[in-house]
Amino acid sequence: MKLRANLAIGGGLTLLSLFVGVFGPWLAHTHPIMDANLMNAELPPSGEFWFGTDQQGRDIFSRVMYGAQISLTVGIGSQLINTAIGTTLGVTAGYWGGWWDDFVNGLTNLMLAIPSLIFALAIMAILGPGLTSLMIALGLTNWSYTCRISRAQALAIKSQGYVQAARVLGYGDMRIMFTQILPNTLGPIIVIATLGMGGSILAEAALSFLGLGVRPPSPSWGSMLSDARETITTAPWLSLFPGLAIFLTVLGLNLLGDGLRDVLDPQSRSRR
């Protein structure tokens, strides 16, 4: 069954990246920063260095293992912030309408008009570099799509009979938003969040490259990729393995999101 395959592959890949994220330091057999040895610089993958070594002779396998922590934290953290901001604003704007809706719409348009990376740069410049400020910067700049979608969903759902029935039964606005509207907007929001996670991991790479993300010796998949840029023709393994890690993580998250959406929707479950 296709539905279960999505969930199994996606869940497996995501679990794998989470496992690496949590246990990476134990899996790596060398220290990602301290074990630099210029004698071993840019060695191709071998029995000793599974993924090869980089310009400073550091073991890429170890760096990928350690990097998982940073990349996943940024990806998940920033998407949590994004989704929280986007759905809160979107659902309330769609449900309440009026001046609040106008205000949220204006804000969303503003966010869409400013290139999010530039905005994130500005926030990073204020907060200073570091993992937490990276999460906040990426979390504050990418909620407009979530907001747009959840607003449209709320707008469509609030005129449904069951929302009116809830009002007739005496439900308050908050209860209606939580029990009637939010569960019915979850499908697309989960998909956007998992897609966005990949985007955040890549944006972290961009910010790290500009020197505003994770500081150079710390390994993150993004910063490893940008370091490997110069050697892509001479030593492709420098970019191949961190790239592969990002690719598999994002693929896993997307499949998982897809599968989750199907499972969470009772209508796609088979009859009895």
Binding site: G161, Q164, A165, L169, N184, R271
Partner: protein, 326 residues
């Protein structure tokens, strides 16, 4: 005077401001404009009118979801409105919706749909909640073991039964049925109508049966009120309304019921479309469509006045239509 009515609506008007920018005054949409109605305990009132006549707005103001511009709605001796206790209003009046597909939350099982209102209204004993849900399902003709299914696993008729169960789970006294069968297959309509009648007898309910279909109203109502452009134009017992309709609009509606004997040869037709409630015609609001309109009708609005015991008509020429069969 002691009010024996369960619901009494006194001179209710609901106006909505439409449009109006920074420099222009909004226009007033008179959705409901001076309606008097009452329903006694155990009684069914049929409310008939074409779409856009204010039926739904009237229902919303009875439910306390729209505030009246003028007049008041008294439910079980208490005024309904934004100051009223919403939970108390909810326990007195409930609603059955038209579309059984859109009126059930697709992500909630039947049990959740029925149990959540009970909990909200203070039934905290889980055993009692489960018992009442099972009992309610049995009363509407579903099996209690179907409680853990989702709405999409039911047919349209079964979904409407769930909608009825949701309306009755709080044991209300008055149930507003907004076109309860018009979205259903003809073959299922009779079942749902009979179910509503059985439940009325069993639970002592009052109904406000909103419909554009006089055929449904005929089966279900003790009294009938005909609404046109925000006003009641004729009201009376169903026998008077169906056998001796006085208002030309009522006569046109009755003539429009498909009847195998007359082969749909309607003798009186209302011409044209319902006028905009933003700009109602002067005099009797029905005059542009009325085949009997006189100059008097075009200048002075008629008042709802009795022609018989309990039969009120708002038409200048009601006396002339007295003994004529429709």
């Amino acid at each position: 005077m002691a009010d024996s009515n369960l619901l009494s609506i006194e001179d209710l008007a609901v106006h909505f401001p439409i449009g109006g920018g920074m420099f222009s005054k909004p226009q007033m949409l008179r959705a409901v404009d001076g309606v008097n109605l009452s329903i006694k305990p155990g009684e069914s009132l049929g409310l008939v009118g074409e779409s856009g006549c204010g039926k739904s707005t009237l229902a919303l103001s009875i439910l306390g979801l729209v505030d009246p511009t003028r007049g008041r709605v008294m439910l079980d001796g208490k005024a309904v409105g934004s100051e009223a206790d919403r939970l108390e209003v909810a326990r007195t009046v409930q609603m059955v919706f038209q579309d059984p597909y859109a009126s059930l939350n697709p992500r909630q099982t039947v049990r959740r749909t029925l149990a959540a209102p009970l909990r909200l209204h203070g039934v905290s004993n889980e055993g009692e909640v489960a018992d009442r849900v099972a009992e309610m399902l049995r009363q509407v003709g579903l099996r209690p073991d179907q409680a853990d299914l989702y709405p999409h696993e039911f047919s349209g008729g079964q979904r409407q039964r769930i909608g009825i169960a949701r309306a009755l789970i709080l044991k209300p006294k008055l149930v507003i049925c907004d076109e309860p069968v018009s979205a259903l297959d003809v073959s299922i309509r009779a079942q749902i109508i009979n179910l509503l009648l059985e439940l009325q007898a069993e639970m002592g309910l009052s109904y406000l049966m909103i419909s554009h279909d006089l055929g449904v109203v005929e089966h279900m109502s003790d009294r009938v009120a005909v609404m046109y452009l925000g006003r009641i134009v004729e009201t009376g017992g169903w026998r008077e309304i169906f056998e001796q309709p006085r208002h030309p609009y009522t006569r046109a509606l009755i003539a429009a019921i498909p009847d195998p004997l007359t082969r749909g040869l309607a003798r009186e037709k209302a011409r044209g479309e319902i006028p905009s409630p933003l700009n109602p015609p002067p005099g009797c609001t029905f005059n542009p469509r009325c085949p009997h309109a006189t100059d008097h009708c075009r200048s002075a609005p008629p008042v709802l006045s009795p022609v018989d015991e309990g039969h009120l008509v708002s038409c200048w020429r009601a006396e002339e239509f007295a003994k004529e069969p429709a």
